[in-house]
């Protein structure tokens, strides 16, 4: 019932921004090539506006149900033309869908895509269990909504939250993390739509459907748009829209239409630091193609407002706009060299090497040994497998060249800086469409052996994707259908949940804070701070060598309890053990819980001893 309620909420809510988007499009007299393309632009514009407004709301601590309702009310009331346009457009879209009945393959593919989306939606309605989401994607918006000032130095990753996280805040403000997950799913659904529109520009309908299906069945896609709880999938949507809009601008040569690619590219930059590559390449591409400074200015200035907001916030709070990556230079006085090194290590893959040989091997190792390269294998083998067919793709069109440039530069930047396959998600749809254009071209030119072999590889991948998603869904669907309780599900699937649940029960009602050293904080419902130096900028092992220094920091943070589960962080263990040995912190409760060991997908669990220690001087 909760899932159905969330479905209704997301769809009803989405009508308002859609009408607002159509109103905005009519304002700049934008004409698109198809109904779907118009609907996608109409969805993109208000989401950009929502991100911008919500980010400012959050900064001024005005983020609640009332302010959100106010925003939606204003949108609904200022979209008269949009509402008028929305209904005929939806009717036309429905008629287009109805027409598909006449084509057997279109009905089949549309049905397959619909089934994928339905399964994805159900998966997205499971309670949150994504690791990064439980560490910061959802935790930071939740803390913010509860009045804890965010971002905060005691949770270093909180500075990584960008404008994409405002959609999570929006869902939470509307009353449920399911709605927030629904928005992430929506981002995935819209990305699939944008991918289809992009693919149709380069290939016949059959291949466009297959590309869309391959995208939806890619493990990276269904993971990111359903259970991961990360807003990164929105980057893929806005990247596609930015490229389509830039191509539309070049085709029509209307300067004001270049505002759209800028706006969408800025939205990509606002989600994650690495997203800045997208507006940079799109702006350069538009300049090279049009040789017009006016058009360049339109792209650049429209991308700035949304892209720059998280940078301004971080610079304001820490002195470093891309905190903590440039803290060494921008804020040397507050540098925590240990935490900075830990963050850099965290954003690099286990297999990261920058020798020429490793860089040349990266496109292959990413696919064949993805586990060591930021789960690169979740992107599937199709891009690498079909890559030779790229030579057949006609490169005359600006759309193709821009998409290829964005993909190539993002890939090179990734290879040089992080070698994390996961960070390639925003440009994965571009690569997929380009290689599918190669397959379609091979078929057009009568390369029968290549076409048949590619089709076989594709069928194998679609089967693999379907089976892996079915296996993956098996763990999540029982709770969505009400056959498992939320508590039992979280105990089974959410990392560190048993520890958080024990602490919630043991320390309920206390106002003083608890220092914890585990990573997955979302389900903690007691006041807390993160104490692991890897995750907390405040826990600088260089400044916490003496027990008095540590107690001083705990006093400053208002900490009364410390939780050891099962050990202290190695860098601070001697100091904590000293405090324990001298009786200045003493155990007050303990238990043993079962929790995940290593990656959840391997299913290994082990008993963990959880000890709550009280700071003697903090007890009343």
């Amino acid at each position: 019932m909760i899932a159905i309620g969330a479905v209704a909420a997301v769809f009803l809510l989405f009508a308002v921004p859609l009408a607002y988007g159509l109103q905005s499009l009519s304002g700049i007299r934008f004409s698109s090539r198809s109904i779907l393309e118009e609907l996608l632009y109409a969805a993109g514009i208000p989401i950009v506006s929502i991100m911008l407004t919500m980010f400012l709301f959050e900064r001024f601590r005005k983020f609640d149900l009332l302010s959100v309702s106010g925003l939606f009310f204003v949108m609904a009331m200022t979209s008269r033309q949009g509402w008028k346009r929305l209904w005929p457009l939806l009717r036309a879209a429905l008629m287009r869908i109805a027409k598909m009945r006449h084509s057997a393959y279109a009905s089949f593919f549309a049905g397959a895509v619909a089934i994928c989306l339905a399964v994805d939606f159900l998966l997205a309605m499971a309670p949150l269990t994504g690791s990064d989401a439980m560490h910061y994607h959802f935790t930071v918006p939740l803390l913010d909504s509860q009045g804890t000032p965010m971002p905060a130095l005691w949770l270093t990753h909180s500075f990584f939250t960008g404008t994409g996280h405002t959609l999570i805040s929006l869902g939470l403000a509307l009353g449920s993390d399911r709605i927030a997950l629904g928005f992430i799913f929506l981002g995935g659904g819209l990305t699939a739509g944008a991918l289809f529109v992009f693919a149709r520009r380069l290939m016949p309908e059959k291949w466009a459907w297959l590309a869309t299906l391959a995208f939806l069945l890619t493990p990276m896609t269904y993971w990111q748009m359903t259970t991961s709880g990360s807003p990164d999938i929105w980057m893929a949507f806005f990247t596609l829209l930015a490229i389509l809009a830039a191509a539309r601008g070049v085709e029509t040569d209307v300067t004001r239409w270049f505002v759209l690619p800028g706006l969408f590219a800025g939205a990509v930059a606002g989600v994650k630091y690495t997203g800045w590559i997208i507006p940079a390449v799109i702006a350069a591409g538009c300049l090279l193609q049009t040789r017009s400074w006016k058009k360049l200015a339109a792209v650049v200035f429209s991308s700035l407002p949304l892209g720059i907001l998280p940078l301004v916030r971080n610079a304001w709070m820490t002195g470093d706009p891309v905190f903590p990556f440039l803290a060494r230079w921008f804020a040397p006085g507050h540098l925590n060299a240990y935490a900075a090194a830990a963050i850099v290590a965290d954003t690099r893959s286990a297999g990261f090497h920058r020798s020429l040989g490793d860089l040349l091997a990266f496109p292959f190792t990413l696919v064949w040994n993805g586990g060591a390269y930021g789960v690169g294998h979740y992107l599937g083998p199709l891009v690498l497998a079909f890559a030779p067919l790229l030579l057949l793709v006609p490169r005359k069109e600006f759309l193709v060249r821009l998409a290829a440039a964005v993909w190539l530069i993002m890939f090179l930047a990734n290879a040089l800086t992080t070698q994390m396959g996961r960070f390639l998600l925003p440009v994965y749809p571009l690569a997929l469409v380009l290689v599918f254009a190669g397959v379609a071209e091979a078929e057009k030119r009568g390369w029968r052996i290549a076409t048949i072999a590619s089709s076989c590889a594709l069928v194998v991948f679609l089967l693999f994707g379907s089976c892996s998603e079915a296996l993956y869904a098996r763990d999540f669907l029982p709770v969505v259908f009400g056959r498992e309780t939320k508590g039992a599900f979280l105990n089974r699937m959410a990392p560190d949940y048993p520890i958080a649940d024990y602490l919630n029960r043991s320390l309920e009602g206390h106002k003083q804070k608890t220092m914890v050293f585990f990573r997955h904080l979302y389900y903690l419902r007691i006041p807390y701070v993160e104490g692991d130096p890897q995750n907390s900028w405040m826990m600088n092992p260089d400044h916490l060598r003496k027990p008095e220094q540590l107690l001083g920091l705990c006093r400053e943070l208002g900490v009364r309890w410390i939780v050891k589960a099962p050990d202290y962080p190695p860098e601070l263990a001697p100091v904590f053990e000293n405090l324990e040995a001298t009786g200045r912190i003493h155990p007050v409760a303990e238990t043993t819980v079962e929790a995940f060991s290593g990656w959840r997908m391997y299913g290994r669990r082990e008993p963990i001893r959880v000890v709550i220690l009280e700071i003697a001087e903090a007890s009343p």
Partner: protein
């Protein structure tokens, strides 16, 4: 002459396609091989549950 050119083009095209098929096989085999760890872990967990 034209026939000879056609047959050369055909030969080059076919060779290129066969090379491409070999490439596809290598990429796919190496790709799917890396999932054997997860497969065995899953099968192991399933086996433990039922025996």
């Amino acid at each position: 002459m034209a026939e000879e050119t056609n047959s050369k083009v055909f030969l080059v095209k076919t060779t290129l396609q066969i090379v491409f098929v070999a490439w596809l096989i290598v990429v796919n085999v190496l790709y799917y091989a890396q999932f054997r760890g997860i497969l065995f872990a899953r099968l192991g967990a399933w086996f433990q549950r039922w025996h």
